[in-house]
Amino acid sequence: MKPIDTTAGIAGISASFRRSFADFSLDVALAVPGRGVTAIFGPSGSGKTSLLRSIAGLERAGSGYLSVNGEVWQDDAAGVFLPVHQRPLGYVFQEASLFAHLDVARNLGFGLRRVPTTRRRVSLEQAIELLGLQKLMQRMPGTLSGGERQRVAIARALATSPRLLLMDEPLASLDIARKAEILPYLERLHDELDMPVLYVSHAPDEVARLADHLVLLDAGRVTASGSTRELMTRLDLPLAHGDAAAAVIDAVVSAVEPHWHMSHAEFAGGRISLLNPSLEVGQRVRVRIQARDVSLTLTRQEGTSVQNIFAVAVVALSPDSPGQVMVSLDAGGGTLLARLTQKSAQALQLRPGSRVFAQVKGVAVLG
């Protein structure tokens, strides 16, 4: 079965794999854009890693089909199966998996020197610079911190100029500080290299920050696939529920007030004020607004400390945890989420189409 690719045409990634394990079966068909970061998101045990390993060829699915931007890497029906080492991909494992007998420079060179010169698009210098490895080149893997090792692993994969970069929860084995250390590098990767990335994760904040496109996986099946912005606010999906539920909005910086340490950015629903002075006018920013930071009023509040107030229309309501309800809101085309108690939703008589004002207490700039 070849999935019909409606979003990306031939320039995309089409994959379908069916495979049965003793206690689990993987049965996915997906088509995602051939550029940008696509996050594969789902609870542990949902088959994310298995899917990624099948795409890499590390696991051979019972039957599978895979084409990457027009090149068929696997078509079991036609007897096509490129072995892993012949697929022009990069793979970053959960643990760095560096070669213990080689220093950082030789680890980086391992893949690079096996790629013909004519097929190199990322230079070694570029990979070193992107991941900030200049000072680590002569070190042995055993002497590096977890975060440093993972940066080397990412650069090592990049240095092979992959036509598809696969990352299997590259931050999962790191503590919060190390995660914060690596995330900016991943964002630079996204901004500076035009390379499709499949990024497996079970952390909503990473997804919100890095992914353009989202594939939701549950029990070995794809439950939804679409843009991150859209999927994060769809009330029929688990991502839009619970404590971490949030809307992601892309905006353009329109004014900066350095003396207040503030910037202002425009999106379809109005102007967002941000406590972040280091932005520049014209810069695109992605912000995250958590559902629990949004409250609703029937009239525009005067005399409030809240600066971000948007006129919105209620799109839908959906029960959340007991006593709470998740409301999706249309702000001039952008979608916001608000999490209210059922009691207040009742008191405001909210129903689809109601016109209300959303007061936003906190906005996080994702970079």
Partner: protein, 227 residues
């Protein structure tokens, strides 16, 4: 101090041990690799066969080899039809016997090292464009260097000390099959205790030094994956 016969036996022993070690490293590598990676049901039986010389009296092994490779044995029939003659009572026969006898001492350290490396470095290498053979030489071999040292030293030293097999299938032919251990036996039989002392003492010191080197030069077993 050593008479000519002893020197000849010493030279022959070293030649036998060196040949055996080389053969075992070459043949033992694929065998150890297979044992470390296979999920086949044959893994158990093959592993047990490899380990047999650890528990079997060498004389038993030698006896069966003699029967198998003798003029009327199946292997003997084969070697004769190939024009190689029969192997017992030749140097080549001793090499065959020594290879079997010392096999666990070479195969087991290699197998352990290959198992310790695990799947991950091989997968990482594959995603970095290295073919399986390339991966073996550029990742597995360097990571297994300490194990190769152990395997070579143990295989060599163990072959130097063998007696039972040699006696059963090599006999006692000066310059061809009379190795050190047999020479010592001969000396003792002839009541030449001084000569026997030189050889036996030499063998004792040699064995101790080899093990000492192995235990001190190799600081702690390197973990396969580490990073």
């Amino acid at each position: 101090m050593l008479d000519d016969a002893s020197l000849q036996a010493l030279a022959l022993t070293l030649r036998l041990a060196a040949t055996t070690t080389v053969v075992l490293l070459l043949a033992g590598t694929p065998l150890a690799w297979w044992l470390a990676r296979t999920r086949s049901r044959l893994k158990g039986p093959v592993g047990a066969m490899v380990a047999l010389p650890l528990v079997l009296p060498p004389v038993v092994l030698g006896f069966y080899l003699l029967v198998l490779m003798g003029p009327n044995g199946p292997v003997g029939q084969l070697t004769q039809s190939l024009g190689w003659g029969v192997l017992p009572f030749t140097f080549a026969g001793l090499v065959v016997g020594s290879v079997l006898y010392s096999m666990p001492f070479v195969v087991q350290p290699l197998q352990n090292a290959f198992e310790a490396i695990g799947e991950r470095p091989l997968e990482a290498a594959a995603t970095l464009r290295a073919s399986p053979l390339d991966t073996f030489f550029s990742v597995v071999l360097p990571l297994s260097r300490p194990a190769y040292l152990t395997a070579a030293v143990m295989g060599f030293a163990h072959t130097v000390g063998e007696f039972g097999i040699v006696l059963m299938m090599g006999g006692n032919i000066p310059g061809k099959t009379r190795v050190m251990s047999v020479q010592i036996y001969d000396h003792v039989e002839a009541l030449e205790y001084r000569q026997a002392h030189w050889l036996a003492g030499g063998l004792l010191v040699f064995s101790f030094l080899v093990l000492l080197a192995l235990y001190t030069l190799q600081p702690g077993r390197r973990k396969g994956q580490g990073a």
